[in-house]
């Protein structure tokens, strides 16, 4: 029974089990992937009649010449480069500290993880209030250190930073959980061996913990990069339906949303989605290439 080959009958039965999932997936996941690559090449598209004038790279030329798209790519890259490394390092440090603690450790884990389960929209409203330049908590705390009030949400020089701080705060918990699982999976024997060899706490961390955690670190960074490239909800709620002051928080997905939803330029929006896909793919491949040299499985 184990090495039975698939037959017409067994394939037909399996198809019945797969059918509900296949119908939904093909309609709403597979077909749209093909369709959005195709749509990115449409020229003179009319949504109402679904008529396509022709095919070409006009939409990509449009993006190439649109200063807004350049800004969106730039902001997205700054966001990713700021959020991912800081989140990875902070969550690793917190996970290591939490792992040292016995008293109330479950309680602390619950708290650190809380932002993950909360609605981004609701919590971004709270951050909008925290960033209020006159009555917000942020400026109040900064005032203790003699820092003058900052117009977090209305000054283009600070609004991307405001978004970055909130996003790091929101993402920490998820990564801490993954790191904690990784730390618990490390065999105690390695530490005992290192101790016998006379390794101090820092050497144990550097030569045992860090290399053995490298697969998790890799996973957390890939997750972080993919998630950060797609930032949207946070911006929409923090800046109340605008891409920040002077478009300082315009990102690729926000650009896609504007072209699609407010300007009805579907093919341009689809093209920006294709660019997003290739950017994510490129960065993921670079990470994979790097991990082959530095990740120890």
């Amino acid at each position: 029974m184990l090495n039975e080959k698939p037959s017409l009958k067994s394939s037909a039965i399996a198809l019945l089990y797969l059918l509900p999932m296949l119908v939904i997936s093909i309609t709403f996941h597979i077909y749209p992937i093909i369709s959005s690559f195709a749509m990115s090449l449409y020229t003179k598209y009319d949504f109402y009649t679904d008529k396509v004038g022709g095919l070409g790279f006009d939409n990509f030329v449009y993006l190439w010449n649109d200063p807004d798209f350049h800004l969106a790519v730039k902001n997205t890259l700054i966001f990713v480069i700021a959020v991912v490394p800081i989140t990875v390092i902070l969550s690793l440090v917190i996970a290591l500290l939490l792992n040292q603690i016995k008293f109330l450790s479950g309680f602390f884990r619950t708290i650190y993880f809380l932002p993950f389960v909360t609605s981004t929209i609701a919590i971004a409203m709270v951050w909008n209030w925290i960033y209020h330049s006159d009555y917000g908590l942020m400026n109040y705390f900064l005032g203790w250190f003699g820092i003058h009030p900052i117009h977090w949400l209305t000054d283009p020089n600070y609004s991307l930073l405001a978004l970055i701080i909130m996003s790091i705060w929101k993402n920490l918990g998820f990564n801490i959980i993954l790191f904690l699982v990784g730390i618990n999976n490390i065999d105690d024997g390695y530490y005992k061996a290192a101790e016998i060899d006379g390794a101090n706490a820092f050497q144990r961390f550097w030569n045992v913990t860090l290399p053995l955690l490298s697969p998790i670190t890799f996973l957390v960074s890939i997750n972080g990069v993919i998630g950060s490239f797609k930032v949207f909800d946070e911006i929409f709620a923090l800046f109340q339906g605008t891409p920040g002051p002077g478009k300082a928080d315009l990102t690729i997905v926000y650009y896609l949303y504007q072209k699609f939803y407010t300007e009805y330029k579907y093919p341009v929006a689809a093209a920006s989605g294709v660019v997003l896909f290739f950017l994510i793919l490129l960065v993921t491949l670079v990470q994979l290439w790097y991990s082959r040299k530095h990740v120890h499985y």
Partner: protein, 273 residues
């Protein structure tokens, strides 16, 4: 001595970090219980003189939050139940049944997980408007009735149940269908709970898609309704914070009760996926 100091330092850092995580929530609840003049006191006050529970009633009635709440419950329940149903069946086929093209199909679906979901929005919007489902529950639910991530996670669990149980059930004359629902599903309870909770959280909090496919007030889900409410509430932060609180609370309660499943689910999905 050095050990005690480092232990104390450790706790100080962990507590400071936990406070940073908690302060936005505390600030939200504190503001939600203030009078309007209290919200703009400098320096800020943490505990209002009199707790203004009435803000919650006022916020709830200031916009059709009851309706938003019902919409969110309907959309979350149906899309989670639907995803579970389609995923359990598909995961069983991938884990246990023999069929042509199994590996190719599996790889194709793995590949689709690489595609950013935002790319699917435009074609799906077009499809659903041709189906006449925009601004209806159909648009909010249909695209979310299948999730390959869930199929993938369940398949792992189904594969790890011993073959003997399957063959024993077969010898006892149980059909595949009966084996799946009476043996395999109950045995995989903890994984199923984990993926269910993750689905519920994702669905409850989702924003971009419901924002795009709803036009009328009566079809909005809670996050979309809350976002719209900010335009109406303007600077009445006590009402905004009360509204944010009741959007957040259901998931926090769910989280506190089902924490161990959520964490198990994330580590399973994260580490194997």
């Amino acid at each position: 001595m050095a050990k005690t100091i480092s232990k104390i330092l450790l706790y100080v850092i962990v507590i400071l970090g936990a406070l940073t995580m908690l302060i936005p929530f505390l600030w939200m609840i504190s503001t939600s219980l203030k009078t309007a003049p209290e919200t703009i006191k400098v320096p800020p006050i943490w505990i209002p003189k009199q707790l203004q529970w009435g803000n919650y009633v006022a916020a709830w009635h200031a916009a059709p939050f009851g309706r938003y709440f019902i919409n969110s419950v309907v959309v979350t329940t149906l899309s989670t139940a639907g995803t579970l149903f389609t995923s359990i069946l598909a995961a069983f086929a991938f884990a246990r049944l023999k069929f042509w093209g199994k590996n190719i199909l599996f790889v194709i679906f793995l590949g689709t997980m690489m595609i950013p979901g935002e790319m699917l929005i435009i074609p799906n919007f077009v499809t659903l408007s041709h189906l006449g489902q925009i601004d209806k529950y159909g648009a909010l639910i249909l695209p979310w009735l299948a999730s390959f991530f869930t199929v993938f996670t369940l398949r792992q669990t189904f594969q790890s149940t011993p073959d003997q149980i399957y063959y024993a059930a077969k010898i006892d004359g149980a059909s595949d269908w009966k084996y799946l629902w009476t043996v395999l599903v109950p045995m995989s309870k903890s994984t199923i709970t984990a993926v269910t909770v993750l689905q519920v959280i994702g669905s409850w909090n989702s924003f971009m898609w419901p924002l795009i496919v709803t036009n009328s007030e009566s079809m909005r889900t809670l996050p979309v309704g809350l976002q719209a409410f900010t335009t109406d509430a303007g600077t009445q932060y006590q009402l905004l914070m009360a509204a944010s609180t009741f959007v957040i609370i259901p998931m926090v309660i769910l989280y506190i009760f089902l924490q161990k499943y959520i964490i198990a689910g994330i580590s399973k999905a994260g580490l194997k996926g």
